[in-house]
Symmetry: C2
Subunit: 424 residues, 2 copies
């Protein structure tokens, strides 16, 4: 039994209507001609919607939806210490599970098929991701001054997580090693993380050069910039997703390019917390791969990849006064292809043989009329509520605007209840 | 017969549920207690949605939705000369009518209740606005090197427009005088516009200091900055909405504040066309009133005030690295109160006696959970598709997601047809 998607436009193709056939996890036919269904096929009329391979959120902390709108106007350090961490200390594993499901509901509704998450109680994040049917690279955020001062314990959490979840859910879930940042992990902790990642064949997912303070502190302590510091420790030999990279210089960019580090650009979070603007034009020009992430909802306040790519576009153009900075196609590529590369997912371009990660987006709303150029329409006119259907590895997770794997009503009421418990 | 809106949260109030009574054009009761309906009342259950007074788009060119996505990556001058103007020369009055309706459908769906529009075939813009039930200050964009070289004719268009439409549609429509800009209108044309505005009691709506080129040219020709130039011609004595004001200095800001000019900040358009970032923090600190506009959809590509206020927020914070720049409440005020001031509309704060411009926005989606602080939720988490109902002057224009005054399907098919005619 396969799926026959009829009458869809394909992102990156002409405006013709195509038929896409999905068997199991993969796309098995793409044709402008009509493809005859077999008796058991699920035939779906695409109503001239746009099919795209779905978005990849390359850096987030899913359960932080629980802190959405908690403190909108404070700088990074104060925000973490006075607002985020106090609430996080109260969160139970069960709270993290419900928070993750709430986040995944929002992400799915906006056409996201895969996320790179870093949090704690990661078992529960994994449980929620598995249920949702989405793809994810999960990690536990390691915070330890030294191996003897908590580091041993922190790394064991990741080891246990990897043993249980790396490659789980039919390969939809992978585990990464996440030393949280240069300012929260000591040197031997970083070295041990590198060792663990190499030994187990895991990637690294970290925060890097997010704030001016971080860069100044690392320079003062080590004489190096944060990327140079990680390079000296051998960390960048491991496939790495580095979130933020706001304050990087030419030498940093050359290093990130040479090591194939995928930067997870988080324009909204960086703007909201006052960290600044990552130089993505220079990054891309120097050959650095740049994916896109929302960061946690507490510093965004959305997990909406269309909104995020539009923010990346505006923040690339406004301050630079360059009307050619970041085209629609480049912004979409950051939100799709580059994210897949960062998460170690195979490319997906709606071609025969590609994994069937497919999102349908309606183009018939007033705000997407006229929709002559699908790339421009998707990047600059569409909104997350235009997404109607999501398939991951051929499995339908949303059909006609209804989530099939997440009980939204239940999730929302659980979240409201748990927040009442923690804030009263 | 009145309208009884039950179980709504009110923007700017606590999280309690209120009942709002509307009789005719005005709000006649606001109460936390239950208000008994009379037999003829239309009773609406607000389902704990958020009621807000609706957004004001303080600068747009509605029919430019016809050029949505036409050329996304070119600077202002090239964009106008090579793309926009060639298509505009082909537009018939009927085309402008359908384009306006398409734009108003999008605007209404996003909770916009009033727009300041500048275009041509303005009779047809007015016809569409009247049908839609929305509020508008309309104008004809005057372009003339001198009074003898087209200026006389251009001003007569505005005179005729004002005679027919100023105060029309039960006062929902006003007419402004719109000399297009300092670089498209000669000095005697500006003087004549000022005279006409004063004589007829009309406001002025213009583009001001949008690009570096404009400022340089005006300085070279006159020795003045564009605002100083208009002041010298007496123009700023007239109530003025000045779109953009990207490149303004301290003296300009003092002048704009002293004259009570309302700046229509268009952050997305300014970013997209590479014109830069208006210094709204400095403006507001100097006492300049700053409203918010989308500009035309061709340079946006949306007419979505929630997206616009979020862009204003991000562009205020990112480049400045100030996590306190533009709070949620300030951004909303730009999109509502300041816009009303610019359009000469009475304030609307959902109080007894206020005109019943009321928008309902659902707060129960995953992306708006938790929704403890309605101001933060509206500004930073909601999206235009959360708007379910729009009332203007007590008249329902959208109910439960359905437009009552615009036949969207018809409008969209007319637009697709007319574009095919012009581009084939």
């Amino acid at each position: 039994m396969g799926i026959l998607l009829r009458n869809v436009r394909l992102l990156g193709h002409d405006a013709s209507l195509y038929t896409v056939r999905i068997d199991g996890e993969r796309i098995t036919a793409v044709s402008r001609a009509s493809v005859p269904p077999t008796a058991e096929d699920d035939v779906i009329d695409g109503d001239a919607k746009l099919a795209l391979p779905g978005f990849v959120n390359a850096h987030t902390h899913l359960p932080m939806v629980l802190m959405r709108g908690l403190a909108d106007d404070v700088p990074l350090e104060e925000w973490l210490e006075d607002y985020v961490w106090p609430l996080e200390r109260k969160l139970t594993p069960e709270d993290v599970y419900w928070g993750t499901l709430l986040a995944l509901a929002e992400a799915l509704r906006g056409g996201t098929v895969a996320v790179a998450d870093m949090y704690f109680h990661t078992d529960q994040v994994a449980r929620a991701v598995e249920e949702s049917g989405m793809r994810s690279v999960l990690s536990y955020g390691i915070i330890a001054r030294s191996m003897s001062d908590g580091g041993e314990r922190e790394l064991r959490v990741t080891e246990t997580l990897a043993a249980k979840w790396h490659g789980a859910a039919q390969g939809r879930i992978a585990v990464a090693v996440s030393p949280h940042s240069t300012y929260t992990c000591g040197e031997d902790v970083w070295r041990a993380c590198r060792g663990l990642a190499k030994e187990r064949g895991l990637g690294i997912h970290t925060h890097l050069s997010e704030s001016r303070e971080e860069v100044a502190r690392v320079r003062e302590r080590t004489g190096d910039s944060p990327p140079q510091y990680l390079e000296r420790l051998g960390v960048l030999e491991v496939p790495t997703v580095a979130a933020h990279c706001v304050h990087v210089d030419e030498a940093d960019l050359a290093l990130l390019a040479r090591r194939g580090v995928v930067v997870a650009h988080c324009p909204k979070s960086n703007a909201k917390l006052g960290n600044g603007l990552a130089p993505i034009h220079a990054m891309r020009a120097r050959g650095v791969r740049v994916a896109l992430g929302t960061d946690g909802a507490a510093s965004n306040n959305r997990l909406d990849m269309i909104e995020e790519l539009r923010a990346a576009w505006l923040l690339a153009r406004g301050p630079s006064e360059d009307p050619r900075a970041l085209s629609a196609g480049e912004a979409i590529s950051m939100a799709t292809d580059e994210g897949r590369a960062g998460l170690g997912l195979p490319p997906a371009h709606l071609k025969v043989g590609d994994v069937a990660d497919v999102v349908l987006l309606r183009l018939d709303a007033p705000h997407t009329t006229p929709a002559g150029d699908a790339v421009s329409t998707l990047a600059f006119s569409s909104q997350s509520s235009d997404v109607t259907d999501v398939f991951v590895g051929g499995r339908p997770l949303m059909r006609k605007g209804r989530l099939l794997t997440i009980d939204e009503e239940r999730v929302q009421s659980e979240v409201v209840r748990l927040l009442r418990r923690h804030t009263n």
